[in-house]
Symmetry: C2
Subunit: 418 residues, 2 copies
């Protein structure tokens, strides 16, 4: 079964809004084993919406359209679809009641136009929106489902998860399972060299490398007609893939590096303090992205000026003058100073050249020293990151977190596939 | 003149990669005054690419396709287009020489397949790629230009800027000018109420509200056949719009709030120190996003634990116990402590409840106190931000920067359209 997704909206067609809804839907639909073969984007015009839907119905088994279901005059999807498919709009009492109830709860005076969202094409099924007013709408046209979803991302996502995925799953009758291994410290090409054509041997599996500056995620999706068969293939894939890449896997699923580090610290009942120069607070920000991080994050020092390094972290002035602020010795002293002043178990120090200026022959832009001081000992490393100022800073923070994770787990600090 | 953009690539169709190329192209093409009326996405399949191009040629005056021009077997755009348009591929000596030259310079041994990128459809125009190997290709088919661009964002962007925009501009013969006013502190609905239908009076202008949690950008684009006419309309739009919203405009064009704050500090030769609790280093990170920020950013304190607030910033223990860590008094003491310890002119303190836990009836999630202490005096405000932990933190940092900007410019600290 194949599907066409149609995005509706001038803000998307003009490039003002990047179409993350489409990417979300395409990934979510993987779990249903339908194939997304086409995607198109049209503006908020009844004519274009009708044209987009007409073409989609010619070539796809099902059509999912997002956007244009709101209450303002430029929301014309409902009307365009009703006209094209010959299903006049009528007021749906259940939807109307839900809209009025939402209005009452919010305590705000809503304009009368919101009630246009209760106009539903005749004979359509309605999916009540758990987080907003505009419902999902399903029309079956010559045996092909046409599904309309609102364009507000959180509403579209809620309806997709609650209704669309189960609906398509039931129609395909196939089982789909997937898992993701998150790796850090190996390039995509190194992973590829190691994994090779192994995924071809997993029945029903598709395999993807998903690189970003947070590492390379490895994603396996298995589809099949038999649930036990799919399960068996997933287990085999998991075990065989893990055997190849175990040494660089830091998490599974959607867990972030900062959450893993938090768990490792919690496990030991240790607390951390950060001392940052070139990352300018980003490492502390990452560590506090996680709710509840106050259990293990104590404080952070953003010692951008040299005076701050000397005064706040007791960095030795002679060392600083002799080796420079960007050096292993200063990174270690920063980590030790943060640890001592915060009176915690773990200190991290980062100092480097984020650029675009400030590089030299010996210490080009992207040179970053990272040091850890903990009851397990002191570790420091120098890294050379490529990229812009922003990506160098992101990579430095992610690398510091991975170093700390490895150190706390008593793994070798330098990531290696072997 | 209208254009269809076709994105080619399994990684986009699968939702793995969000299609930022399309958004870039749509925005870039605004400067040419062509209209982007359709966008479609197809996978790396010769059949689908041909179908996508065929449909696009039926309805558009020009077609721009991105992706699938690389050297690997799944890059089939060149071949699919050549076949559909009846233009056999032939080796282009100039492109081949450029590819070999690039290989030599990189010092890496390139696989022989890279030379397939020199295969060009007969009679096509070639746009040499300034930052990569795959050139842009222009085929004129029944008077309609079909333009093929590589999918690597930086290559696509370089070719768009250098060749595509001038090419389309010349074909439309129209002049386009645009400007953006960046506002902070007024909701989109408030701006809309104030601006109303004013933009309808600017000849040839289109007007857009671009909201994000960094504020609402207002963008005006004017197109016309006469350069002086366009200029006149732009000036009128600028003056009339500015008259309406001047009090909440913090920058023009692509300048970020942190850059504006940096300029204000530089202007006074003042330096800043930050003291953060709930933002956990994000404010320091924002201030150091700008290259050269060491001229005015001295240091930051991420005092997550109460002990850190007492020890590092001399927050008064009695005040903290009586009023709580999330209070105006503590925010002010944090700002004053950061300023005194760093021995700089400007101290900023932020303390609040980022959530999802930790809220109370009096101080619900999203309550954030922000204080400034400078030679101009002490200011503090309480804010209630809506959203997730991440957006509350982003809004708090942006609001602190805007408060500081207003204070340094001796404007009223609370933004207001009036």
């Amino acid at each position: 079964m194949n599907v066409e997704i149609v995005t509706i909206g001038n803000e998307v067609l003009s490039g003002r809004t990047v179409d993350t809804n489409f990417a979300y839907l395409a990934r979510a639909l993987e779990a249903t084993s339908v194939e997304v073969l086409w995607h198109s984007t049209v503006g908020d015009s009844a004519e274009r919406i009708a044209e987009g839907l007409g073409r989609a119905l010619e070539r796809a088994d099902a059509v999912v359209m997002t956007g244009g279901l709101g209450p303002t005059p430029d929301d014309v999807t409902r009307k365009a679809v009703a006209t094209l498919l010959g299903r006049p709009l009528g007021l749906d009492e259940q939807v109307l009641a839900a809209i009025r109830e939402r209005g009452k709860k919010s305590g705000r005076k809503l304009p009368a136009t919101v009630e246009t969202m209760a106009l539903i094409p005749r004979g359509a099924e309605v999916w009540m929106n758990p987080v907003g007013a505009a419902p999902g709408i399903v029309i079956t046209h010559r045996d092909k489902p046409v599904i309309l979803l609102p364009g507000v991302p959180q509403e579209m996502e809620a309806l997709t998860e609650e209704y669309l995925v189960p609906f398509l799953r039931e129609r395909t009758g196939r089982t789909v399972e997937s898992f993701t291994l998150r790796t850090y410290g190996a390039f995509e090409s190194q992973l590829h060299e190691r994994i090779g054509s192994l995924p071809d041997q997993w029945p029903g599996a598709s395999f993807a490398y998903l690189p970003s500056y947070f590492g390379v995620d490895l994603r396996v999706t298995v589809a099949g007609n038999s649930a036990p068969g799919v399960r068996e293939s997933v287990l085999r894939a998991y075990n065989e893939l893990m055997a190849k890449v175990r040494n660089v896997v830091y998490a599974e699923g959607g867990i972030g590096m900062e959450e893993v580090v938090g768990s490792c610290l919690r496990e030991r009942s240790w607390r951390v303090a950060t001392a940052e120069s070139c990352t300018g607070g980003l490492l502390a920000k990452r560590l506090t992205d996680t709710p509840g991080s106050s259990a293990w994050f104590e404080r952070g020092f953003v010692t951008y000026a040299n005076a701050a390094k000397l005064e706040q972290l007791d960095v030795d002035e002679a060392t600083l003058n002799a080796q420079g602020a960007v050096s292993a010795a200063v990174a270690e002293q920063m980590a030790a100073g943060a640890r001592a002043h915060a009176n915690v178990e773990v200190g991290i120090g980062i100092t480097g050249v984020a650029g675009p200026d400030g590089g030299s022959e010996n210490k080009p832009v992207g040179t970053v020293f990272i040091a850890l001081v903990t009851p397990l000992g002191t570790v420091s490393r120098v890294h050379r990151f490529l990229g812009t100022r922003a990506t160098i800073r992101e990579r430095a923070a992610q690398t510091a977190l991975d170093m700390l994770r490895r150190h706390l787990l008593e793994l070798p600090v330098d990531p290696s596939l072997d």
